[in-house]
Amino acid sequence: MTGIRLGLSSRLIQLTTVLALLFLWYLATTNRWVNPVILPRLDLVWRDLVALVGTGAVYQHLAVTAFELAVAFAIAAVLGLAVGFWVGTSRYASLAFEPLIAGIYAVPLIIFLPLFILFFGLGVQSKIAFGASYAFFPIALNTIGGISQVDQRYLTLARSMKASQWLIFRRVLLPGALPVIVTGLRVGCITGFLSIIGGEMLAGLQGLGSQISRLSEAMNSSQMFAYIVFVIALALVLNFVLSAIENRFKPVGEVA
């Protein structure tokens, strides 16, 4: 009962906060407290957003970004899981490579974006490579972490029954590590999305991010904000879907 009431009241506060911010925006623009070129009127943003979705102008850019994300995520997932399992199951590899992978993850890879552009050009390839390198690290690190936190007693038990390496992997390591691995996949997908949008904004010809920076340069702020709102909505939906998938893999007995 109190749990439900707490949940409801926190939802109410969230909603009120967002509405209050939007109202502040509305006041600031209609009363011309800020330059409308910097912050456009809300109703104009809404009008442009409706036009963008209605005419379908946004979809060609959405398709480019979605394609980049899908390919980047697939590459990162395959490589991240492979490296994660290899490093996670070998003591020497984990001693050597885990600190290395964690170290590189701490580096803001965006500083290498010019290199990605030089190697792969301004098109989708550079965004795919960039997004894949960002998504790789959380996937690999969570896979390593997931394997290392599998209870040693389960491994001893499997060993006492002389389980083959394959069965130890299939029946113990994989199911034991799965919840953490799925978290890594979610985080990888989100960081991949963020980095692809960022890459497009800094150096891109197509995609949602490139539209935002192009419209910003053209000082068409109401359309730019329409794109921003679209990207925010997309990020929220992506996060919601991925979290729902992740929850299905939570350890048995821990699902709230």
């Binding site: 006492s160 029954m161 002389k162 029946r171 113990v172 199911p175 350890p251």
Partner: protein, 292 residues
């Protein structure tokens, strides 16, 4: 005080199943000795408990018998064959709590164990269900471990070991995580279950009562490095019941084991006190019967 217990003509040593021969164990390049020249024969159908101060090395001895740990010197023979690693065809394990996979149902856990052991797929489910029926968990086969009580989980672990149909079952403090009432009840149940089977059981425990209640022989071990201090016979037929637990004979045996352990525990708990030089650990104060 206590007379030497009558030596039961146990089916025991007529037919030796497990033979531990001069086993010693040390780790950290021999710096830490855990087992000191242990020799022990265990007969077919015998129930033997290893008891000793905590951390003395009794679990190490169990793991050496099961092939999970290699001895530094000496060897273990099971059915006359030297143990060089896990032998799931002849030896099953029951560990402490929480070795059931939480992501699988109870029956899946048993099926997976059979898969590990190499049992053909067609036989697994039937054998798993039979084993669960045997321990009274038929209605819980599709439950997850977290839905069961601690006692039920340990019964499921026992069912998993029984399903492997090995002659030998090694148990490492299987009831240690349970409360005393549950553990006493499970002990009774175990005695009941094992009366029928011809399983040879070696169990590590730190409960004096449990050791006496379940064992045909109690192997009392010294503080680390563990050696056999004494072996106490418990001559009472299985299945054992609460009457046995309340008998004077039970108390005498329990007290006798405690008297043997007291010095060893003092060494473990009290640090340097009583660690006299040159003490011969291989001879107990009151050896009842040491099997060579």
């Amino acid at each position: 005080m206590l007379m030497n217990p009558t030596v039961r003509k146990a089916p025991a040593l007529a037919d030796v199943v497990i033979s531990v021969k001069n086993v010693s164990h040390a780790y950290a390049q021999g710096a830490v000795k855990t087992l000191n020249d242990v020799s022990l024969d265990i007969g077919r159908g015998e129930m033997v408990c290893l008891i000793g101060p905590s951390g003395c090395g009794k679990s190490t001895l169990l793991n050496i018998i099961g092939g999970l740990v290699a001895p530094s010197t000496g060897e273990v023979l099971v059915d006359g064959k030297a143990i060089n690693g896990p032998s799931p065809k002849s030896i099953g394990f029951v560990f402490q709590e929480n070795t059931l996979f939480p992501w699988s149902t109870i029956v899946e856990n048993v099926v997976t164990a059979l898969e590990f052991q190499g049992v053909p797929k067609a036989e697994r489910l039937g054998r798993a269900q039979a084993a669960l029926d045997n321990v009274g968990l038929a209605d819980f086969r599709n439950s997850y471990p977290h839905q069961l009580s601690g006692g039920m989980k340990q019964r499921a672990s026992l069912a998993r070991a029984l399903a492997l149909e090995t002659d030998v079952i090694l148990m490492d403090e299987p009831f240690a995580a349970l409360d005393e009432q549950t553990r006493t009840y499970l002990g009774e149940e175990l005695s009941y279950l094992l009366a029928d089977t011809k399983k040879t059981i070696v169990m590590v425990t730190h409960s004096l009562g449990e050791a006496v209640f379940l064992s045909d022989r109690v192997v009392v071990m010294t503080a680390r490095p563990a050696a056999i201090k004494s072996i106490i016979e418990v001559d009472y037929p299985h299945p054992r019941d609460p009457d046995f637990m309340m008998s004077p004979h039970f108390s005498e045996l329990r007290n006798e084991i405690y008297a043997l352990l007291r010095d060893e525990i003092r060494q473990t708990v009290g640090g340097l006190v009583g660690r006299a030089a040159g003490r011969d650990r291989s001879k107990g104060d009151r050896p009842v019967r040491v099997v060579e």
